[in-house]
Symmetry: D2
Subunit: 346 residues, 4 copies
């Protein structure tokens, strides 16, 4: 293709590296093809409502490389709303003279991109998930930063746990998959890791802690993914309570496991819920490189007219795969990976 | 004094820098005076039960400089128990040939040290409080590390808050004083800081957020000390609930403030409770230097027979002050310090 | 004073925290007094050449809190040039309607500020020195960040030195004073620290390393301030060479000491010169708080008409001291501080 | 295989993650197979001289996960010496009852391992190179940590360069390949990257800096791999000088490039040589996970009798490949990877 006018937007939860992707799209489009890039703010809603901003290939965009979050803002929108606005979207893209769209987002965003692609809009997607659950790509940017933040927390809790002879539980992100828990747990030397893919048996967790205390190593670190759940029938547990004052309560699975261990063993048990600090802030060098490479290759795919694809990390290379292949199912932690990690729980 | 045999112990909550203090006591005692040091494990209880370990002036103790927690373990004991065990304590110290004791701990530990000192045991105390609430000393080790961890969290939440147009609340440590909240809030550019010393008016907090959103800066960061409380009569609030399943709930003041802002404004509000990651892990360089200086000077005070004192940072110097002066009252955030910070809330 | 129009500028080497000072001046002036602030770019030269920029009390200035360097740029100018431009400076300040000037800089800048103050320009100075060598203030911002960076380097070199049985030398900043070397060396557990205040005896350094190797601790870490020098008559050494190709060479004192140890002992010795990474990048939380407090108090001093002063940290308080007192002489590492640190060299 | 007795050793330069590999070998061997592990100290020399230490599957080995360097020490030995000691090596392994050997090291170590394997010693190798130059594996542990340290330095230099309108050059590791320079340069937003694989044209580098200054972006960051070299005939340059005092000089290629830019443009140019801080210290979470996985899979390969192989990262999996394939040639930065990065130099 010749010189193009490209649009990009970020959708769904924020993720360290989004700005690095945008920067790489802008700079590659400019320096390799002489093309220009506009952004739509606040995700799909900004595309529907034409919240357009010009993105310039200058010093200011370079500065964004280090910044977490997204300079374009983000948002969520129901697919039905998007679909019912196809005409408006096409109109806005036409008005702005856009030749192709690069949406950056998770499963929902990529599916929407696919649907737009099927409906005549040239689309190349960039996968974004801090949870690392997109099929067809080895890693997604943001994941390494989340693991680094979670691992730093585990490192810090080790010494406290040991000094106070405590069991410390760290609840990390991961509603449907346990990649962050698995990696942060391995990196941090956790004594147990609980992931959604493998319903837990509270008896086994309790036993593993008791074994440590009996061996004289009187503390334990347990990393729990927020989406973990007990084996059916092994433990009473309901999410989302209301206290006697009528306020919503925030007991997550980490706290539930903690209470259970405490009541069964009498150990001093504490739970820390890491929450949003895992997804904000300056990306790690790894994530900046990966996000930059995604941006470079998305810009190239667009200029080569290779639509309906997403860019994906495959070993050392960035490949292009069909969006359908990427969103067909979640990438879960394989049984073997968990078992290998479990051999180190000790 | 000539060559001595010194004992040390750590008591109360753990704190980054405890090991640096112990190392400095051991090395200074050895290299400046030819003295030896033993540690009692698990705080006062270890002194009562004679859980004694020899501390060697070698490579292994140097390695502890970087480690959070305490190599001696820690514990809590009721003053009455301590007092009723005076004879046993004296016996244990005699048996071990101990000439002087250096307890490292917070208000309770220092008071106990004073009481032992009044009862004939040569004691020099080292103040330890992550909350920075000990009178008579500019700063205590561990505080800088806690502020650094909390500030890193605030930095990370900024970009998420901005990308999602959210109010993000960070609950930090500080049951009785707001030093960590004040410093992390100032360092992180928080838009509101809530501290125990100044009961908050929820209306004012809500208004400050509304002002930001009206000005187009559609996000906000609020740092809340865990011990913050509303002005009497301004807001219903009770701690420590139980949900409909009979489980203990964990709604802290940060979550209460968050719910209130959300229900009054409709903004997307999220709360992160930092918890234990603030008190563990490798101390900052600042805390390692301060802790090391405390240890050096405690060893010297002991060898100079200057008992009944604690070491304290006074500007650039480490002074010795009477334990009584240190524990008479908590060091709170002065009104003027808070007002100066508040001018930057914007 | 009522509403004012204030000017600020940054001069000399850059330093983490400069932007935090500027931000605090702008926000405090605006929110407490309704005043406005302009900046002159590139230090004194910008004042002479009227490179004026308006600084706004908005979101963008908040973002600068985390950024190293200075948003106003910096420069150096000879005092004679400044003095010969007094009329032009006054004219520029008059034209811009400036009521008072807040120069942020080191010894030279503060002296220049004093001279301007004596010549009728209302000036309040903010001391800036990464070396921590300004008299009358406990600490200056930037110093903590430099120590943190240097300490991180020392931490990293420890494991390499140990694995390879090497002597590792780290040359840190400090042309005239050894504060950074002293603190980074103490925090990092260095086995020897060499500072400008105490001319070194190479024999003593060599002996201390030999002692370690004989004791079986076959590695050593030495922290050297760039301005360190041998005791007169103890070692041949000249700075600033030229090699056989006519190129300038960069052998610093760290490398000289390294070569000497190597040739005398045969140990594997390596030198790392940290250089500029010590003075750039995001300030530590400590430096952000200190810089912010300096900015707040400089703005207040100006509004209270308290000219000819600098702001200075005194224990927990920010005081105002006469510029003359601050620049009379350098703040050096006292003999006692060095001796206390030396007791830990081991 | 049944229960085994395994030996391991680390050879060549140290690398963050070595201890994590050793820990994973010990724990996996113990918990999955009931096997025990011994280490030989100081690399191959320790194997020849039987410097054997038992490695226990306990708390103490878990602590090593975070530590840089190698708990076994390391060393270098000429292949001829190794080969002439085959009988002694076999004898030592026999005496210790060793069933298989896991050497952890770079190209030379792996070749030696292959030779031993060909000579009847059961060997599984673990590749170690901070430079990431081993063929057949996507990444090697230590590389991510080196890139993280180098990127942090680049981040810090950005603000200084900008504040002072300077060209800052960062010389990073990489004697034969430019992976660290490429990744740190991309992650840090460098304006030029110089790698060994692509001999540089000093005119082009100078022009790229001049372009920036002309565009008003009056500073530049250049990342240079230590092994970079000019295009033949374009620039006089000789390594390893001696100054007029007869001392060895340390002008690396970074300093040579810096001097050249300075003399041609008159810009303020500074060079920082990162050196050893890139290879020491706590590994990143990424490297801890990768190193742990290498250790797990090396232990499994040994127990499955799959000798003459090394473990290698292939996308998401750890594979086993023939040692010969790994050491046949260096993994260099492909032309396309460099060109993609160069499009962002700007």
């Amino acid at each position: 293709m010749g010189i193009m006018r490209i649009a990009t937007l970020t959708s769904g939860g924020d993720c360290p590296g989004l700005n690095a992707v945008i920067r790489a799209i802008v700079r590659t489009s400019s320096s390799e093809y002489g093309s220009t890039v506009v952004g739509f703010e606040d995700g799909w809603i900004g595309l529907m409502e034409d919240r357009r901003v010009q993105l310039y290939d200058d010093e200011s965009i370079d500065r964004m490389l280090l910044r977490g979050g997204t300079m374009l803002g983000t948002g969520r929108v129901h697919p039905d709303i998007l679909m019912s606005n196809l005409d408006r979207i096409k109109e806005n893209l036409d008005d702005a003279g856009i030749d192709a769209l690069i949406p950056i987002g998770g499963e929902g965003t990529l599916k929407a991109g696919k649907w737009l692609s099927d409906n005549g809009i040239p689309v190349v997607g960039v996968p974004k998930t801090i949870d690392n659950d997109v099929n067809g790509t080895d890693y997604t940017f943001g994941f390494d930063t989340a693991v680094a933040v979670a691992t730093d927390a585990v490192d810090r809790l080790h010494t406290t746990a040991e000094s106070h002879q405590r069991v410390m539980i760290v609840e990390v992100m991961g509603r449907h998959v346990g990649w962050i828990a698995l990696h942060a747990g391995m990196a941090g030397g956790a004594h147990y890791i609980v992931i959604p893919e493998k319903p837990f048996d509270i008896n086994e967790i309790v036993k593993s802690m008791e074994r440590r205390f009996q061996m004289g190593e009187k503390y334990g670190i347990i990393v729990v993914a927020e989406g973990a759940a007990p084996k059916p029938g092994t433990m009473e547990y309901e999410e989302g309570g209301v206290d006697q004052f009528g306020h919503q309560t925030f007991n997550g699975i980490g706290q539930v496991i903690g209470q259970e261990i405490k009541s069964r063993t009498g150990y001093d048990v504490r739970t820390t819920v890491l929450g949003h600090i895992q997804r904000g802030g300056t990306p790690t060098a790894y994530d900046r490189v990966l996000a930059t490479r995604y941006g470079i290759h998305a810009a190239r795919a667009v200029h080569e007219g290779d639509y309906g694809k997403i860019v994906a990390l495959n070993g050392e290379n960035i490949d292009r795969i069909d969006i359908d292949d990427a969103v067909a199912e979640l990438k879960v932690v394989p049984e073997g990976r968990y078992r290998a990690a479990a051999a180190l729980f000790g």
